[in-house]
């Protein structure tokens, strides 16, 4: 049954009337119109739907709406501020770290969550952090380069 759930979305309070066991990705895309978050597998296997909940990367295809009540949700649409890209977005843009772009939102969100905690990560640590995100076009090398660059920009120069 529809219940109301309130949470913070990209810095602004929202309240949605939707079943609490509904997966967050559908609420974001269909109720709130934020289609930057993609659907790739609906089983937590590809990472395309990655968003941040209280700064932790979560898979929104497998996260019930009820789980984010009172929490802070950040999607790809909430990363840039006043037209200024977030360092991870900027690095993805500079490195051309995508081809079709379908995995890109999830990649950027996963990388951002990781770098917030560990900007001085090694290449091996970045690989481990990104392992849950699939890119079918094979932009992996560029994605790793972009995440490294973003880490440095965030003050993690090694």
């Amino acid at each position: 049954m529809n219940a109301t759930t309130s949470f913070t979305l990209n810095g602004k309070p929202v309240t949605v009337a939707s079943p609490r066991d509904r997966m967050l990705v559908w609420v974001l895309r269909d109720e709130l119109g934020l289609t930057g978050t993609k659907v790739g597998c609906e089983a937590g296997l590809c990472g395309a739907c990655t968003v941040l909940v209280d700064f932790e990367a979560v898979l929104s295809c497998s996260t019930p709406l009820g789980d984010v009540a009172g929490k802070s949700v950040l999607t790809i649409e909430g990363l840039a501020h006043d037209g200024k890209l977030n360092p991870v977005q900027e690095a993805f843009q500079d490195h051309h770290a995508f081809q079709c772009g379908y995995c890109t939102s999830g990649m950027i969100m996963a990388a951002w969550a990781f770098l917030k905690k560990k900007p001085k990560a090694t290449r091996t640590e970045i690989v481990e952090a990104m392992e849950g995100n699939i890119c079918r076009c094979g932009a992996h090398v560029r994605i790793l380069d972009a995440v490294e660059t973003a880490g440095k920009a965030m003050g993690g120069a090694r």
């Binding site: 895309r29 659907v39 089983a43 890209l85 843009q93 079709c100 772009g101 699939i134 076009c137 560029r142």
Partner: protein, 678 residues
């Protein structure tokens, strides 16, 4: 749209160029003779506001979306690595022609000779007095012109300011901010999401379904069109849940083939045998065999493999005022249009396809069964946008796979170890595409069957179709011949290669890699393979480590040297090569469709294994830099030799010959068991 209609639709006040004659050496094989290339295939428009636009019917899988069947002239699909080959010379010619016309117009308007004018960034001015200037927009105001190509030569490459340079991608901002709109992101008011009732096995169709439980879900609508039954709801997840209720009581009919992913190879060989035909035949195989001093026999296999685009097939269709519009994730808007028209028994002019950003294609989105489904459902609910977005299970189930195949090869090397005396292939599953490379072979035979319905599963074009299967067999076999004859793989190829371009490319690859080849297995784990797709040539070098206990192959390093002629957009080309190497590491090591009868056992990425970050080696890409202006497409060539290079690297590391793609840990362990103890 035909040319005449198109001309009528062009807004006044623009200068329009239509180009009838492709320049360059691109022999176009039209799929619809009479429409293309006789009709124009590129179109350049200069508007009164000075904007220069060019419309072609291709879609850009990694950049801007172009294909709208109402706005673009008819075009072939975006596939086969044809776009650059066909379009680049035409557009360069078009730009040159337009430049010449504009300079003449400016000369008249400014009262100065053409030789005294400068043209840059949409404006033309008198060199001596820059204040005397005009713009493209001012010049073309109120005119409509038609020009044909061929009279004006494009400027020389050394004068080009963009060709050969890295340029920022136009789609970057949209893709890093989530703004890029894919078909599933369309949010038309009133959209209903349709989930289609699927049979449990490929080839089966719906007989009965009890939809009463699904219909009790508030907001659900059921649409049935023949054997197509769909559950509709405003929420995609609710439609999916309601479909599960209908599925419980569905009955289906249709035969299921008695075969599975283990027995498929013998199945193909047996079914192909009575239909085998000689499709390549040169020289006397029997005589060549007598001359052979080293003979190798091999059987090479590959499994069915899915395109597995990260964006599953997705379309939105709307039936309105007697016209069907479909917003689709497509590589071929015009193929989709014709297929939708045929399925709905509509004229082609009653169907419009509008391509969206495409979340991966690889040949899988050359065809549009999902778009047809969306259109059939939309036809039943006029005015309502219908979205059909396959989920992962449907995408793996309904895909047209890379065909499984068996290549049996016998071949021999002469006593001087410099000539292939015979090369004899018998193949089931693919055709001879790119089976031959520029190697000198005294006799060569290729047999493949013409057996309709050979494959028990649906197959399709998978990025460089046929070529990767044939290259895997050929390059593995050459490696085995070299090793048996005590030659290193480079020396053997140098003796066999008849084409100067490939020889140069081989040297470039070996030098860049820093490899001193020696007869294998050397234990270093380095493998070589060559491949071609049309005129594009590739030499691949792989370095692997093999865990002999688990059978796990790890790619440490991968280099490709690529000759595709003039590289227009170096960074874009590099991305294609990096992507092809990465994708085919999955092809070589892990991707395989598991099935039993018509039932596809892989439902998601837990068993259908795509390469993840930990599988990615250090990648190097080097271009030959051939000074020819003919550009070959690059989507497919770099795919061709990847699996072969990896298999040869496994041999060099261990002495084990892996002959079955993908070489999973189990298959590597089995191959390791066959290595004689030294």
């Amino acid at each position: 749209m035909r040319r005449r209609d198109f001309l009528q639709g062009v807004a006044a006040g623009t200068l329009t160029f239509f180009f009838a004659t492709p320049l360059g050496a691109a022999p176009i094989v039209p799929t619809r003779p009479g429409t293309y290339p006789e009709d124009f295939n590129a179109y350049l428009k200069i508007s009164a506001d000075g904007r220069v636009s060019c419309l072609v019917g291709k879609v850009e899988l990694v950049d801007m979306v172009l294909g709208d069947t109402d706005l673009c002239p008819w075009d072939m699909p975006t596939g086969g690595s044809l776009t650059m080959w066909h379009t680049a010379p035409v557009l360069r010619g078009a730009a040159a022609e337009a430049r010449a016309v504009l300079l003449r117009m400016a000369s008249k308007a400014l009262g100065a000779p053409v030789s005294g004018l400068t043209l840059k960034d949409g404006a033309i001015w008198v060199k001596e007095t820059p204040a005397r200037r005009t713009t493209f927009g001012e010049l073309v105001k109120g005119r409509k012109m038609e020009r044909h190509l061929g009279k004006v030569k494009p400027k020389s490459l050394s004068d080009c300011t963009l060709i050969g340079r890295r340029v920022p991608r136009k789609d970057a901002l949209a893709k890093v901010t989530g703004a890029a709109q894919y078909a599933g992101d369309l949010r038309m008011p009133g959209t209903l999401h349709a989930c289609v009732l699927r049979p449990p096995a490929q080839g089966q169709t719906l007989v009965t379904a009890d939809t009463s439980a699904a219909e009790r879900v508030p907001g659900v609508r059921i649409v049935r069109d023949g054997t197509l039954l769909a559950v509709l709801h405003a929420q995609p997840d609710t439609a999916r849940k309601a479909l599960a209720l209908a599925l419980v009581k569905g009955t289906f009919e249709g035969p299921e083939p008695d075969v599975d992913d283990v027995r498929i190879y013998q199945y193909l060989v047996d079914k192909a045998a009575p239909g085998q035909r000689v499709v390549i035949s040169r020289g006397d195989i029997a005589a060549g065999e007598k001359r052979a001093a080293t003979v190798v026999e091999g059987e090479y296999r590959n499994a069915y493999e899915s395109h597995a685009t990260l964006e599953p097939h997705t379309s939105v269709a709307k039936w309105e005022e007697g016209r069907m519009t479909v917003w689709a994730s497509t590589q071929s808007p015009f193929v989709f249009r014709d297929a939708v028209a045929e399925a709905l028994k509509l004229g082609q002019d009653k169907v419009r396809i509008i391509a969206q950003f495409v979340g991966g294609g690889f040949g899988g989105k050359l065809v549009g069964p999902g778009a047809i489904e969306a259109a059939r459902i939309a036809r039943q609910v006029p005015g309502v946008p219908i979205q059909v977005a396959w989920n992962r299970e449907e995408d793996l189930f309904l895909d047209g796979y890379r065909p499984a195949a068996v290549v049996k090869l016998r071949s021999g090397l002469d006593a001087g170890r410099g000539a292939i005396t015979f090369w004899d292939s018998t193949v089931a599953g693919v055709s001879q595409g790119e089976a031959e490379l520029c190697y000198d072979m005294q006799s060569n035979r290729y047999q493949a069957p013409t057996v309709p319905g050979l494959h028990p599963l649906k197959v399709g074009a998978w990025r460089a179709p046929n070529a990767h299967t044939n290259a895997f067999a050929r390059e593995s076999q050459l490696d085995a011949l070299a090793a048996k004859a005590g030659l290193d793989p480079v020396t053997l190829r140098r003796r066999l290669i008849t084409d100067a371009r490939l020889l140069r490319l081989l040297d470039l690859a070996v030098e860049t890699f820093g490899w001193e080849p020696a007869p294998g297995p050397t234990g270093r784990g380095i493998g070589l393979a060559c491949g071609a797709w049309r005129q594009g040539l590739v030499v691949a070098l792989a370095q692997v480590t093999v865990d002999k206990r688990t059978g796990r192959v790890k790619t440490e390093r991968f280099l490709e040297a690529v000759d595709v002629g003039l590289v227009v957009n170096p960074d874009g080309a590099r991305q294609q090569v990096e992507g092809a190497i990465t994708m085919c590491i999955g092809q070589a090591l892990s991707e395989e469709i598991h099935f039993k009868g018509g039932r596809i056992l892989d439902k998601n990425f837990d068993t259908y294994l795509l390469p993840r970050f930990s599988a990615i080696p250090r990648i190097q890409v080097v271009f030959a830099g051939t000074d020819t202006s003919v550009t070959q497409g690059i989507g497919e060539p770099p795919v061709v030799p990847v699996a072969a290079a990896l298999a040869n690297a496994v041999f060099d590391a261990t002495g084990a010959r892996v002959t079955h793609v993908p070489f999973t840990p189990e298959r590597v362990l089995a191959a390791l068991k066959l290595v004689p103890a030294s």
